[in-house]
């Protein structure tokens, strides 16, 4: 099975407001999908539903064949998720935090130690392993969140703004890491930084007002317009304009 993520008519309504409107797409092994959109377009909501945090209002998604609504625990086992802002428990040490995530994921003893050590190696956290997370800089905190998502070497990775708050060197390292893992995983990353899409993604989806407006490889997008920035502005602003016209 090469389609590791299958999203089927996923919809989320908050009261009368539709945050995610009937989105469908699939992501295959080896793909890095860049999830783009203006703030409030429904990126985080889609990712939260995919990760099983929010139940969808209608529609569903499958991760490695496990339905997020019917088999939430099985779906979560196959998934590494970095929530928006990379939340962590501030009073815990880096090792303590990663061991907690590892234990919940069913690792114990030397297997747990190996997993934690490997995740810290990938995200270059060894230097701060015994520091409480609250004493770390923003870049380190983000990498702790990332290490937690990579810990169990999941086939599917969903990363909400993985490079936000990192300096240029750290951004480069995280992109390298994503590129290295790409061949054997299906990865979805959301970002505001359009150059990042060109740098790591094999495919880009732009959503606006809860709908998919574009689904194409970044190279194709760049050929159409002059730069990704222009394409992004044209698509998301025109979409907003059409909706306003409809309403009036």
């Amino acid at each position: 099975m090469s389609e590791l993520i299958e999203i089927e008519r996923l919809t989320k309504r908050f009261g009368g407001f539709t945050a995610v409107d009937d989105i469908s797409f699939t992501v295959a092994r080896g793909e890095v999908l860049g999830f783009l959109g203006p703030n409030g377009a429904g990126k985080s909501t889609t990712m939260r539903m995919l990760a099983g945090f929010m139940p969808p209002s209608s529609g569903t998604a499958r991760i490695c064949g496990a339905d997020i609504v019917d088999q939430p625990v099985a779906a979560k086992r196959h998934l590494g998720f970095l929530p928006e802002g990379a939340p962590t428990y501030p009073e815990m040490t880096v090792t303590g935090f990663l061991e907690f995530a590892g234990r919940i994921r069913g690792f114990a003893g030397s297997a747990l130690d190996d997993r934690v050590a490997h995740a810290m190696l990938l995200t270059q956290l060894e230097g701060v392993r015994l520091q409480p997370i609250e004493t770390l800089s923003k870049g380190f905190k983000r990498r702790v969140g990332l290490a937690q998502a990579l810990l169990h070497d999941p086939p599917v990775l969903v990363l909400d703004e993985p490079t936000d708050g990192l300096d240029p060197n750290q951004k480069h390292e995280v992109r390298e890491l994503i590129r290295r893992m790409a061949p054997e995983k299906a990865i979805v990353i959301s970002t505001h930084i359009l150059e990042e899409v060109g740098a790591v993604c094999t495919r880009a989806i732009i959503i606006a007002r809860g709908r998919v407006v574009v689904d194409a490889p970044p190279a194709v997008l760049e050929e159409e317009g002059s730069t990704l920035d222009d394409v992004f502005r044209r698509l998301t602003l025109s979409e907003a304009a059409t909706v306003t016209e409809d309403a009036s």
Binding site: A74, K76, T88, Y89, F100, I104, R105
Partner: protein
């Protein structure tokens, strides 16, 4: 290890990593001791038992337990870690249970630290240690009942002050429902409600334990009381996760 126990272990370590645990324990011990010896007339009554102590513990828990539970889910929401915890592969009820167990174990530790009182009465006389033991069991069950109420309230609101005030009020209702003031008032006007009030009263059940009575129906009461509010907690959490 069951996921609930892994969550509980992390939570409990979290209490002791912050001043919360120490402030709670110190205040609890100071108040419990002071009230027992002053208002409780521990020496003057000339009896080797812990009745004065057991009389005050539920009232202390009424204020201290909501202080413990108000941050239970509110803190996870504030930090955003709720999104992390609930996207780890564990059933949601295990997370609810884990948090409750940690808080309960913490209350048990606070209660255990009142052991000098037990030593004192044993040095001064020959108390019935069975009654003392069942009294402690009752205290622990009252703590569990208040914790379950407080945890469910904490899942409802992001605001810690609201969570605290609501939890105190609700715990007070369950604590005071069986007191003579309430039941006498109700029995003269609405006799049906008086029975219900006695039936749901935590204090009424606790009274048996302080007299050395460990009745199966009281244990069932506390188990179903705690179970009900944990279930409510899970349901509320499911509907208001992202708020």
């Amino acid at each position: 290890m069951a996921p609930a126990l892994i969550v509980a272990r992390r939570e409990l370590a979290g209490y002791f990593a912050t001043p919360v645990a120490y402030v709670f324990i110190v205040i609890f011990l100071v108040l419990a001791g002071a009230l027992t010896f002053t208002l409780g007339n521990f020496f003057e009554r000339g009896q080797a038992d812990l009745q004065p102590f057991f009389a005050f513990v539920p009232w202390l828990f009424l204020f201290l337990v909501p202080a413990l539970t108000m941050r239970l889910w509110a803190e996870e929401r504030r930090l955003g870690t709720i999104e992390l915890l609930l996207t780890l592969p564990l059933p949601q009820w295990q997370a609810v249970l884990g948090k409750f167990l940690a808080a309960w174990a913490f209350c048990a530790i606070a209660l255990l630290l009142t052991f000098p009182l037990v030593v004192t009465v044993n040095l001064l006389g020959q108390p019935d240690n069975g009654v003392i033991l069942s009294g402690y069991l009752g205290c622990l069950l009252v703590a569990g009942a208040y914790l379950a109420v407080g945890a469910a309230v904490s899942a409802m609101t992001k605001n810690q002050v609201i969570a605290f005030v609501l939890a105190v009020a609700l715990c007070f209702v369950f604590g005071a429902a069986g007191s003579p003031v309430v039941t006498e008032f109700l029995s003269t006007r609405l006799p049906v409600l008086a029975d219900i009030a006695r039936g749901i009263s935590v204090a009424e059940r606790f009274g048996g334990f302080t007299r050395g009575l460990v009745a199966a129906r009281d244990l069932v009461f506390f188990a179903s009381f705690i179970g009900f509010f944990l279930f409510l907690n899970a349901v509320v959490l499911d509907h208001r996760k992202a708020d």
